[in-house]
């Protein structure tokens, strides 16, 4: 049970507006789940209910086998734009975070130092937060979320606001944390999700419209095809006319649709060789998460 959350029929209404509607999913230990969706899809509202900032209108959240109890000492939360008391120094801030999450006074210092070392802020423990860069703030935000060794980590757009280096550092840290915690993070940057995901949850207009592992979803939405690059458009056109394949030409590129693994690559190559056109590239194109996202979100 440790590290497991079942979300069942979660709904949140603000007056007439339904922000989250009938959402159900399961988070299992040591996995990372990406919550994907456009702005206003209900991602932050969902995270707010999981962190108990908001009470659901209906539905239940079963944390480690129980519902309706204060499980907040078991969670860590990093908001999208974490804000800090600039007049505090890093260690003071983290010790306070630890104490308020139930870490006793004796261990708070040690745990804080460990968390700061982990996120790479070990050498600025006595520095005021006011002077920190965006990347340092995000890492401090992560430190306050993990200092009490939570079983669950909820991260709202953890890398969206960072530059490429900061993003890489954060992603590596989160990957490492996956060894010991159950992670749920929202994002709209699909490359990140592709890299670090055991489960995908697609949200649109408050509803969970697709969920599953990356591979399953890729398979489901795969719109696989071969892409053949000719040197001229004429060659491409004559290839399409001569072959009996389901091919479509666009300038000097020909797209050949794959259905139920037909035609095979061998067949395509065979035809290409027979017709003796000059070609520069042949490849099997896979659908990207980006394409899936657009399909799912636009309703297929």
């Amino acid at each position: 049970m440790t590290g497991t959350i079942h979300v069942e029929n979660l709904t949140k209404k603000f007056g007439q507006e339904t922000a989250v509607e009938d959402v159900s999913f399961t988070l299992t230990p040591h996995t990372a789940t990406a919550l994907i969706g456009p702005n206003g899809a209900g991602k932050t509202t969902t995270l707010s209910m999981l962190t108990k900032l908001l009470d659901p209108t209906s539905g239940t959240i079963v944390v480690e086998g129980r519902s309706d109890y204060d499980y907040r000492d078991k969670i860590g939360f990093l908001s999208q734009y974490p804000k800090f008391y600039g007049w505090m120094n890093t260690l003071e801030y983290l010790e306070m975070a630890a104490r308020l999450s139930g870490v006793d006074a004796k261990s708070a210092r040690v745990e804080s130092e460990k968390a700061l070392q982990f996120v790479g802020l070990g050498d600025v423990m006595k520095k005021k937060i006011a002077g920190f860069s965006g990347g340092m703030r995000q890492r401090l935000g992560l430190a306050q979320a993990i200092v009490h060794k939570p079983h669950f980590l909820f991260l709202d757009e953890p890398v969206s606001a960072l530059d490429p280096i900061g993003r890489r550092e954060m992603l590596n840290l989160i990957k490492e944390l996956q060894q010991s915690t159950t992670i749920l993070y929202s994002t709209h940057i699909l490359n990140d999700a592709q890299e670090m995901t055991d489960q995908l949850l697609f949200m649109r207009k408050g509803q969970l419209i697709e969920q599953g592992s990356l591979r399953d979803i890729q398979k489901k939405y795969e719109d696989a095809h071969y892409e053949v690059h000719f040197t001229t458009a004429e060659d491409a056109a004559s290839f399409v006319d001569a072959s009996l394949l389901p091919a479509r030409q666009e300038d000097h590129i020909v797209y050949i649709a794959i259905e139920q693994e037909q035609p095979t690559m061998q067949e395509v190559l065979h035809q290409l060789v027979r017709q003796q056109h000059a070609i520069t590239k042949v490849e099997r194109a896979r659908v990207s998460l980006e394409d899936i996202f657009l399909k799912v979100v636009n309703g297929r």
């Binding site: 900032l53 907040r72 908001s79 306070m96």
Partner: protein, 260 residues
């Protein structure tokens, strides 16, 4: 209690690092000693300003020590309360609006500790500042205007301290209820403006807690009716308890509106 000490340490650190521990006492001391000094030297100041007809005669009434205390309290009621409203109305509202409180609200936070830590630290700072200020004022008044009743002075300090705690409690409640701008505006209304018009609205009802500052002055002059004062104190204490309790409940309910 654990959370209270952690949160009170945080509030205290903020008081220290934002220089509140320094500037607020200085303001109360300055207001306290400027009043007697200016009043005492007013004739000389007016004369040295010149441009007066030769035969103009200044007949300033002789001021009693008690009257100077009253005008010092007047300064505290205006500038002192402005300081309270502006510097303390953001205590909850601002950290909710700017998002610094998000990391508190997602933890198993004890809201009584959260609110009481702010209330206690603010009360200590303001009562400390007031006592320093009024003592400095008393010293100057004694030097320049003569002796006064020490018992009455203690009465003034006690009753006005209670008013300060009430003012901070009202301000904290506004801060729990509203966004920073509205909280400041309503605090100004409740603790700066309302005491001025309380006498008009509740003319025949002597127990409104907004009369505390008046009673503090009347105790100094020795004209206060004991039963009126006692009843007003009782009602003020009750109102403080109500404000603090509501602040706890409301800051918990409104935690979800924190910027995240």
């Amino acid at each position: 209690m654990n959370q209270f000490s952690v949160l009170a340490l945080k509030e205290w650190r903020e008081v220290v690092r934002s220089f509140k521990w320094l500037w607020i006492p200085i303001v109360f001391i300055l207001l306290g000693i400027m009043e007697p000094v200016i009043t005492y030297f007013l004739p000389q100041i007016l004369e040295s300003a010149g441009n007066m007809p030769e035969d103009a005669v200044f007949q300033l009434p002789d001021m009693t020590p008690e009257q100077i205390f009253l005008s010092t309290l007047g300064q505290y009621q205006f500038i002192g309360m402005l300081v309270v409203a502006f510097a303390f109305s953001g205590l909850i509202a601002r950290e909710r609006k700017n998002g610094t409180a998000a990391f508190l609200y997602v933890r198993p936070l004890s809201y009584p500790s959260y609110v009481l830590s702010k209330w206690a630290v603010s009360s200590v700072v303001l009562i400390g500042s007031f006592i320093l200020g009024i003592s400095a004022s008393a010293y100057y008044i004694m030097l320049l205007f003569g002796e006064f009743s020490f018992t009455n002075f203690l009465g003034l300090v006690g009753v006005y301290s209670l008013w300060i705690v009430l003012a901070i409690s009202l301000t904290l409640l506004m801060s729990a209820l509203f966004t920073p701008g509205i909280a400041t505006a309503l605090s100004l209304f409740l603790i700066v403006f309302f005491p001025m018009i309380d006498g008009l609205i509740f003319r025949y009802w002597p127990y409104t807690p907004w009369k505390l500052a008046n009673y503090a002055g009347m105790i100094m002059v020795g004209e206060a009716s004991t039963s009126d004062v006692v009843w007003t104190i009782a009602i003020a204490v009750l109102l403080i308890a109500v404000c603090v309790t509501l602040s706890i409940l409301i800051s918990k309910r409104r935690a979800a509106s924190v910027t995240i």
